[in-house]
């Protein structure tokens, strides 16, 4: 349970040489966007001797493929690195290591390939109250990307803008085009933000908690809009959320993140009906469920660890009710647990005689060798990452 230092963290990775497991929906053909072994370490301080410089291990070795016409949900708590992952995919921040492939081709770093990349990959932010500029009209917000990416002549700007508004179900579009953000409701603003994302005909939409700031009654409308964009326009959508129920509702594939790593991924309904990783089980038990008749039992309480000195081995092991000796020593690779479903958990090591995969509600803690008590001793410092 001793946290490894920042530099040594990479030595306990057995999968380093093997081909990484690529998360995301399985579809034939080349995915629109693919991330290979993305890693992001943020420096904590730039001063002091190099040996003492610390880094936040925000995203660790994640490979993800987004095929066209699919929604991939990334689920995790605050500080899980899910937003950092979305920002890495927009190229707003540069990865420490790893690479991005657009339509199967390596993304270059020169201005031209960057422009091409931003044309194809767009981000929709969480808060439509701050992502739109209150001194500019809807028209300005939507014409801007059209002009910057020279997608249309001067004459067709208005027609294009109206068409965009219709595409996000803001109709009649003529009523909305000259409105200002304060004249719109939250749902309408988020639709404008999505329309802005669609202006340059992207192939990939990255939506970072797109409904969490909206009134509950209109969230479904925005989720259904993303669903339509997937089926009607064949967009590849990345849906970042902390709400596992909405991920199940919308996504083809759910990717569960904990402390900067993917702990489990697989088909959406399968993940929620038969979660294999103890952390996914914890998340599901903590989620509100009107159908529940008994108060849920949380196994693995606590908060995410500090990402400056993440726990060695499996990062969840200090909280895990099923932790074994091996969990503190080496990082579990992604084991296949069902069709298209993988879990990075030693409980699912194939051919392991001690394999005792806990069911979602099974009380098997007593049968599984444990290296740590369910209640973690020294509470890991809460992460500062939002």
């Amino acid at each position: 349970m001793t946290p490894t230092s920042g530099g040594a963290a990479a030595t306990d990775r057995p999968a380093d040489t093997a081909a990484p497991v690529v998360h995301g929906p399985r579809r034939p053909g080349v995915p629109v966007l693919e991330a290979r072994r993305l890693t992001k370490h943020f420096p904590v301080s730039q001063f002091g001797p190099a040996s003492r410089r610390q880094v936040v291990h925000a995203v660790e070795d994640i490979s993800l493929a987004l095929p066209r016409g699919t929604v991939t949900a990334v689920v995790g708590e605050s500080g899980s690195g899910k937003s950092t992952l979305a920002r890495l995919l927009t190229q707003l921040i540069t990865p420490t290591s790893g690479e991005l492939l657009l339509n199967g081709e390596l993304v270059g770093s020169d201005g031209r390939s960057r422009r091409e990349y931003t044309r194809q990959v767009h981000l929709v932010l969480q808060d439509p109250f701050s992502s739109l500029n209150s001194v500019h009209s809807v028209r300005y917000h939507l014409e801007r990307p059209l002009k910057l990416h020279r997608r249309s002549g001067r004459g067709e700007l208005t027609a294009k803008t109206l068409e965009l508004l219709e595409r996000v179900s803001l109709s009649p579009a003529a009523d909305f085009i000259d409105k200002y953000p304060h004249e719109l409701s939250g749902g309408q603003r988020q639709r404008v933000a999505i329309a802005r994302g669609l202006a340059v005909e992207p192939k990939v939409l990255l939506a970072d908690e797109p409904v969490s700031m909206l009134d509950v009654s209109i969230r479904l409308g925005v989720l259904n809009l993303l669903d339509e964009l997937r089926s009607r326009e064949q967009l590849a959508v990345l849906y970042v959320t902390h709400d596992i129920a909405s991920a199940r509702y919308l996504a083809d594939t759910v990717v569960v993140m904990y402390a900067g790593e993917v702990v489990e991924s697989g088909p959406a309904a399968q993940i929620t009906d038969a979660p294999a990783h103890p952390y996914t089980q914890l998340l599901l038990n903590a989620a509100p469920d009107p159908g529940r008749t008994e108060p849920p039992v949380l196994r693995g309480r606590g908060s995410p660890p500090s990402l400056v000195n993440p726990p060695g081995g499996c990062r969840f092991h200090p909280r895990c009710p099923f932790a074994m000796a091996v969990c503190a020593e080496s990082r579990p690779p992604a084991f296949s647990v069902a069709a298209d479903q993988v879990a990075a958990c030693w409980l699912h090591r194939p051919g392991d005689p001690e394999k005792n995969a806990p069911g979602p509600a099974a009380d098997t803690a007593g049968d599984v060798p444990r290296a740590a008590e369910p209640e973690p001793g020294p509470a890991p410092a809460p992460s500062t990452n939002k």
Partner: protein, 189 residues
């Protein structure tokens, strides 16, 4: 999510120990159904429905409650398309005439556009059930539409359902709760 659940557990334990009552204000109806004994639903500044948590979940009487229940995807079962509620919450400075919910209501009657319904006992509610709804559909002049009508399977009185059993358990205190969407789209967040 985990932190949220831990804080809720702490609250509920404190309630058991100290015997206070809780008014829980939230938009998260799926959470309330789990936690609360009774739920009051607010829309545009008014209470529109009041019922036991299980009763509200099983058979709402107000179209807004029905719409809210239809806004939270389930964690189990078949994945079905849900519609939420069309439109958006009204501005509190320019409330619609009559029932404030009528522009978003799929079941609106002519009367809903002019007269504001009072919070009252639904006319067809069987005796012994404490329910209130502010909706003209429940005034007894017409049969309420299927999802808002009294049904056989929700005819279980208090104390028979698994969750209502715990609601009527001899707990020293009860949790009341109020659910509503934000009704002020322009408010600062």
């Amino acid at each position: 999510m985990v932190t949220q659940r831990e804080i809720l557990e702490e609250l509920m334990q404190l309630r058991e120990r100290l015997g206070f009552a809780i008014i829980f204000i939230t938009h998260d109806l799926s959470l309330l159904i789990e936690l609360a004994d009774s739920i009051a639903v607010m829309y545009a500044g008014r209470l529109v429905e009041r019922a036991g948590a299980t009763e509200l979940f099983r058979s709402p009487r107000h179209p807004y409650s029905l719409g809210l229940l239809n806004s939270f995807p389930a964690l189990h079962g078949e994945r079905v398309r849900m519609e939420g509620i069309p439109g958006s919450p009204p501005s509190l400075t320019a409330l619609p005439q009559g029932c404030a919910f009528h522009p978003r209501c799929a079941f609106a009657l002519d009367r809903c556009r002019t007269d504001t319904p009072r919070l009252a006992r639904p006319q067809r509610e069987p005796a012994g059930r404490e329910r209130l709804a502010a909706c003209w559909l429940q005034d007894g002049r017409q049969s309420p539409p299927g999802p808002l009508a009294v049904r056989l399977n929700d005819d279980a009185g208090p104390g028979t359902g698994p969750a209502s059993a715990s609601a009527s358990a001899p707990a020293p205190a009860s949790a009341s709760a109020s659910a509503s969407g934000d009704t002020t789209p322009g408010s600062a967040r």
